[in-house]
């Protein structure tokens, strides 16, 4: 059976994940509604504006369904998605789903002028108004660090990255492959 990887499709950089998912031989599904959550084997929470996504989840009354499904399947949170999955969010404080034991500081590097390209484990990625993982719990495994902070971490079925692997056209990215292998 072809595996289905969902992308939470309320706002943000959604379509760019498709080529990475398809390069893994999986099918991409844009998750816009509660019922879409039933047909996926893993979920990507993409980059975008975390405060906007939270408001949309709330207005569309999807909070309960998302929380339930997040506990059941492998997850990859990218940038804004990392913020949504964290235990705690700073600067400013905001609600998060507490799926991984990390504290995240929003816009940790500064404004767009501090956005930068770098390499993570030999793969070209971009940090775009990226958050910083400011604290991690003892059960969280660090998969990569950058400028003295963990930037790609894993706890159980949940992985998060503060940077964007999806904007690299060389597919699949190591981060998508990692998610796929957790299914």
């Amino acid at each position: 059976m072809t595996k289905v990887i969902g992308i939470l499709a309320l706002q943000g950089a959604i379509e760019v994940h498709k080529k990475h998912i398809e390069a893994l031989g999986a099918k991409a599904l844009y998750v816009k509604r509660e019922e879409d959550l039933d047909s996926i084997d893993a979920l990507i929470l993409p980059g975008g504006e975390s405060s906007t996504m939270l408001k949309l989840i709330n207005v569309f009354d999807m909070t309960d369904a998302i929380v339930k499904r997040l506990k059941e399947i492998p997850l990859l949170g990218i940038c804004a998605g990392c913020i949504l999955l964290a235990r705690e969010v700073k600067q400013p404080e905001q609600f998060s789903f507490n799926m991984i034991d990390i504290e995240v500081t929003r816009n940790g590097y500064g404004t767009q002028q501090d956005s930068h390209e770098a390499q993570i484990n030999g793969y070209d990625v971009t940090f775009i108004r990226a958050p910083i993982i400011s604290k991690i719990g003892e059960n969280v495994e660090i998969l990569a660090s950058h400028r003295d902070h963990p930037v790609w971490v894993k706890q159980g079925n949940v992985t998060v990255a503060t940077f964007h692997p999806e904007l690299n056209t060389q597919a699949p990215s190591p981060m998508h492959t990692q998610l796929f292998n957790l299914i």
């Binding site: 706002q11 949309l56 775009i128 400028r147």
Partner: protein, 296 residues
Amino acid sequence: MTKENFGTYKLKTGLAEMLKGGVIMDVVTAEQAKIAQEAGAIAVMALERVPSDIRKEGGVARMSPPELIEEVKGAVSIPVMAKCRIGHFAEAQILEELGVDYIDESEVLTPADDEYHINKHDFKTPFVCGATNLGEALRRIGEGAAMIRTKGEPGTGNIVEAVRHLRTVNAGIREIVNAPYDELMTIAKNHGAPYDVIRRVKEEGRLPVPNFSAGGIATPADAVLAMQLGAEAVFVGSGIFKSENPLKFAKAIVEAVARFDDPKAVLEASRGLPAAMTGLEISKIPQEELMAPRGW
């Protein structure tokens, strides 16, 4: 440590990718910026006067005062954009110094140069520029714009020009996609567009940068019309803070844009709204007061 690069074109278009599916709102005070963020805006555009007031009051419209932009930056955590006049690279340098996340070289302000636009490759800050047709969009991309927004006619609350510009850009893209390679140079000549960017349109089947829509969006349905015509996000200027209940109006537009392909959701978002801004008939605007034709 591996090498880091700043201000690259990939980072500039990358931020535009992150803004897709969202609503960028014009604000003139820090208080309005907070309301916009509360409503779910993905970014705010800090300016001194919204287009409908510029239209009403006349005079030369310039970059906002630095203090206003700093206040707005201090009030919200979402990206902050600001406008400079067409060709006014000194204003753009000030905006870069202020650390805004995006610079809009905008026809809403009075042009500073009636022949040339800013060389946007000179800046680390990404630029968005307006366009009324494909050639104009591709000239701006050639100059370094990392995002295009179709212009519409700002400050009118009338969507007709935005629709025309979206359809015109789309028609231009279809022409290129359907043309064989040996016709591309003549097409480039006819559109007044750089050949290498025309080739990228042919290869990618779309504009090489995100394409948003602006100018005249006054209701959730207007925003949805732009999205269904291919806009990847929308700018709303006078439409929100010239309505009777800005927070409610802003929320409704954000919800409608997120589910633009679902008429049931758009209907829900459109219910119970106060009056939209009063619109303007385009043909009643004196020719010299139109903003969309500004741009070369």
